[in-house]
Amino acid sequence: MKAENSWFDKSTFRTYLIFLLSFLLIYLDFSNQKIIKELKKYINDATTYSAYIITYPIKKLIEIPREIKIIIDLKDQKNQLVLLESKIEELQQQNYFLKQDYKKNQEFLKEEEPYQSEVIYAKVISNIDSIFSNSFMLNKGSQDGLKIGNPVIKNNNLIGQISEVNRNSARGIFLTDINSRVPVVIGESMHNAILVGSPLKQSKLSLEFLPKEYKIQNNDKIFTSDIDGVLKKGIAVGYIELKEGSNNYIIHLNYEILQIDRVSIFIN
């Protein structure tokens, strides 16, 4: 039998070799080998920035109609003035609600020292929403002081946590990711629970370890808890909407995660 036709010819050998290399990589990555860990940091940086550069023109092209629309809208100054006036009213209303919220938070933290965290501002360079993960990449990494577990904040609301740190980039997982677990307190009674990402739920979120005696109220607010020692207490997360006529509920996040472009990260 010729060597080319045998079960161990050149092409089959190459196939075995590539499969073997893949399995070896999986094993090394799983066993947290230092070499692969360092190598992965460079690979992650390279792929993240390459993907960002390649997709940048397409993203900008997609945004053109939206930007044209904004320019057309701005031309109409009268409408703009009306818009501004209504915005002032809205802001005044928001201010009122913020005052109310502030009062509540003051009560919430009356026995706690207000936390002072050093904040890093970062740009979201890509959103990854696949069956494997629901995450985002940031343009700051270990060189800027980011660490795994740091909370990612947008408009004073928690949207996720840092899950992987490279040299010049970092990965954060959204609260809706299946691997996201965040200790929270709910409602005025401040019951503890764990906010878990559940991709198949309507809101992609669910609450675990809720005390049996706790009855969910409509519009109960959710804040982070410092029970695990990783997150700070009192960062706003979202609120609960109770479905009429049933015990089912939907969790709404305070911030639409699709819209994020820049975020803050608490690093202390």
Partner: protein, 169 residues
Amino acid sequence: MSRIKKNYNDVIAFVLVIFSIIGNSIISKFNFFFDVNHFFNLQYLLIYFFSFNRFKYLTLLTLFVLGLVNDSLVGISLGISSVAYMLIYKIALYQHNIKLRSIFISEWFACGLSIAVAYTFVLSTFFFERVNFDYLQYFYNFLGSFITYPLLWVILKYTFLKIEKFENE
């Protein structure tokens, strides 16, 4: 489609596969498309289609590298996607070699089988690595991919035949 193709077809096929891997952040710009990735796996379908139809640039080594890129972007252990892609490639190639005449049903079922094998491997690895996953989500994704394949097949066949015609003229 003939085995030896002109460059355009191969290049477009290759770009499509790359785009399906790195274009996630673009797709997520559209609210409507945001959940598309959860409904079906475009990468697996494209890799199966192009491997079955023997497009030039989709080789084992290319898929290995593309798999590493995907793993790095998605944030899972390096090598998982490479093995999944290569399994799909091997099954598609086997199906291509054993077919006596072009029957779409057999191609379709082999596609389903290849995706099932790939997901079985991915989920087994997740299980051993203790990564959380919802098997129902993957099952729905598998069903979605299986159902979507005929539609994708029609679109791709039509598009690539048009391109081929254009090249020949």
